[in-house]
Amino acid sequence: MTETGPLPELNQDNAFFWTSGADGQLRFLQCGDCQNFVHPPRPRCATCRGENLSPQTVSGQGTVHTFTVNHQPWLPGMKVPFVVAIVELTEQPGLRLTTNIIQCPPEEVYIGQSVRVVFEQKEDVWLPLFEPEEVRS
């Protein structure tokens, strides 16, 4: 089990995102008019202002855009070190998630590394974490 931070409060806008991992798939809102992915979830597409948005499954593949190896315990008892990363999804430049890289020693994480999503369930939330592609091969 990966240790997590405080969880998000689910509501009508974000629940699809935070429960998407229940079937192992990562989803983002996508604009049906211009195909732009919208994240975080908003009521309109910020590119074309269309409201034809719906959750769509993505590949779950991405690359490490940047990362940090965290050594400071921010909450009492927090286990360190761990890796916080910003992963850019392959579907769209700038479509990124702040996440953790797991199944990989912190010193082996690098910018440009290919990663894929893996979910960690905590209560009613499925957190999208990422692991190196090569782990699954």
Partner: protein, 394 residues
């Protein structure tokens, strides 16, 4: 176009005791700073008819902003024609950026702006200063996309920007270290600075890691303290006690994504857009700047502001600060002359503005930049938060 911030001037500054902790209330510190600023300007509390702060009273983090506008109004018996406070604004100096427009528009003649922190005395074992989220509560705002992944501190978010800068431009940990070393050597001449003992590169590199590439000395220090600034109509400022410090230009832009992870270029963020706006509102150029006070909540942010203002080319801030000569008190661009927040304490941007005015009024004493500095640049904020100002001594 006429840029109306030029009709505004900074006429007085004040700063309370700064310490960790001080064991005094935030309001008491605020009143100290405000009265000092009013006196400094040669005004009386009766003259103040505007009041502004950022972000207003907030319980988000312990001691982050313990004082609201109305407590100050009531404490000083102010008669206000205009007031505002809010956190959704271009940086921690947004109160001053707003006040410039307000005095130019004539809503008020003299606006008192303040920022107070009691982060040192408010943090507890279970609630550190500047940590977002708590184990007991679910996250509702956009930080829900950071906090569940234990990305609970700006040190981690901004460490990732620094890491990206290292990757794209070859910036090194030692270069980052010069921001911290430079702050410390200037703090040695600032009796109010929290850390005044010399810091060596070995100390810097040997410090415990917070979140790579940041070690302890890349992170500023939570403290208790209050800073106040008076913004006046320039025509009124001419009759006051001190030389006029004209607000030459402001920058308050955010064009890209307002986000800690989706902004297209994480190595620059809206600091670039704000600085671009600032330069579009003045005939002055980066080479005209005599002293720069650039936000250093984390060392990397100073590098980002150096590039945003165009003091060096994009990506070249590391070599620019390396060795420290260029950014020393007698260098070509004296930088963070009071010790910044890294050594001076986290007065949250307003300390940088206070120091810019101190230098332009030649009140820096042992840390005074030589040669009568006339133009100061102030850049404040990090991540999606950015605001900046150019101040000219007339």
């Amino acid at each position: 176009m006429k840029y109306l911030e030029k009709e505004a001037a900074i006429t007085g500054i004040g700063i309370s005791d700064v310490g960790r902790p001080l064991h005094r209330s935030g309001l008491a510190l605020t009143v100290d700073a405000c009265l000092q600023a009013i006196t400094d300007a040669g005004l009386k509390p009766e003259d103040i008819d505007g009041l502004a702060s950022w972000p207003g009273r907030s319980e988000d983090h312990p001691g982050m902003s313990p004082v609201g506008l109305m407590e100050v109004k009531e404490s000083l018996g102010l008669k206000l024609n205009w007031f505002t406070a809010g956190g959704e604004a271009p940086s921690q100096i947004a109160s001053v950026i707003n006040a410039a427009a307000i005095v130019a528009a004539g809503y008020a003649r003299h606006v008192l702006c303040f920022r107070t922190v009691t982060e040192a005395s408010s943090q507890t074992k279970s609630r550190r200063a500047s940590v977002s989220g708590s184990a007991e509560k679910r996250v509702r705002d956009d930080l829900q996309f950071q906090i569940p992944f234990k990305a609970m501190s700006a040190s981690q978010w901004i460490a990732m920007f620094a890491q990206r800068h290292f990757h794209e431009y070859g910036t090194t940990k030692e270069q980052l270290g010069w921001v911290a070393l430079n702050a410390r050597r200037h703090a040695a001449h600032n009796p109010r600075a929290i850390f005044q003992k010399p810091l060596t590169m070995d100390d810097y590199l040997g410090a415990r890691t917070i979140s790579t590439p940041f070690g302890l000395y890349d992170c500023d220090i939570p403290c208790d303290g209050s800073t106040a600034v008076i913004v006046s109509r320039k025509e009124e400022a001419r009759d006051l006690r001190k030389p006029v410090l004209r607000i030459e230009a402001v920058g308050s832009a955010v064009h890209g994504r307002y986000s800690w992870d989706q902004y297209s270029d994480l190595t620059s963020m809206p600091a670039q857009e704000s600085a671009d706006m600032l330069w579009s509102r003045t005939d002055l150029k980066p080479a005209d700047v005599d002293v720069a006070e650039l936000y250093d909540g984390f060392s990397f942010l100073t590098l980002a502001w150096l590039e945003a203002f165009g003091f060096c080319a994009k990506g070249e801030s590391g070599p620019f600060v390396e060795g420290g000569q260029r950014i020393g008190l007698d260098g070509e661009l004296p930088l963070n002359t009071q010790g910044g927040q890294l050594s001076g304490g986290r007065l949250h941007g307003m300390g940088h503005l206070h120091e810019a005015c101190t230098q332009l009024w030649e009140e820096g004493e042992a840390r005074q930049v030589p040669g009568r500095p006339q133009v100061a640049a102030v850049g404040v904020g990090g991540g999606p938060v950015a605001g900046c100002m150019l101040i000219v001594r007339e």
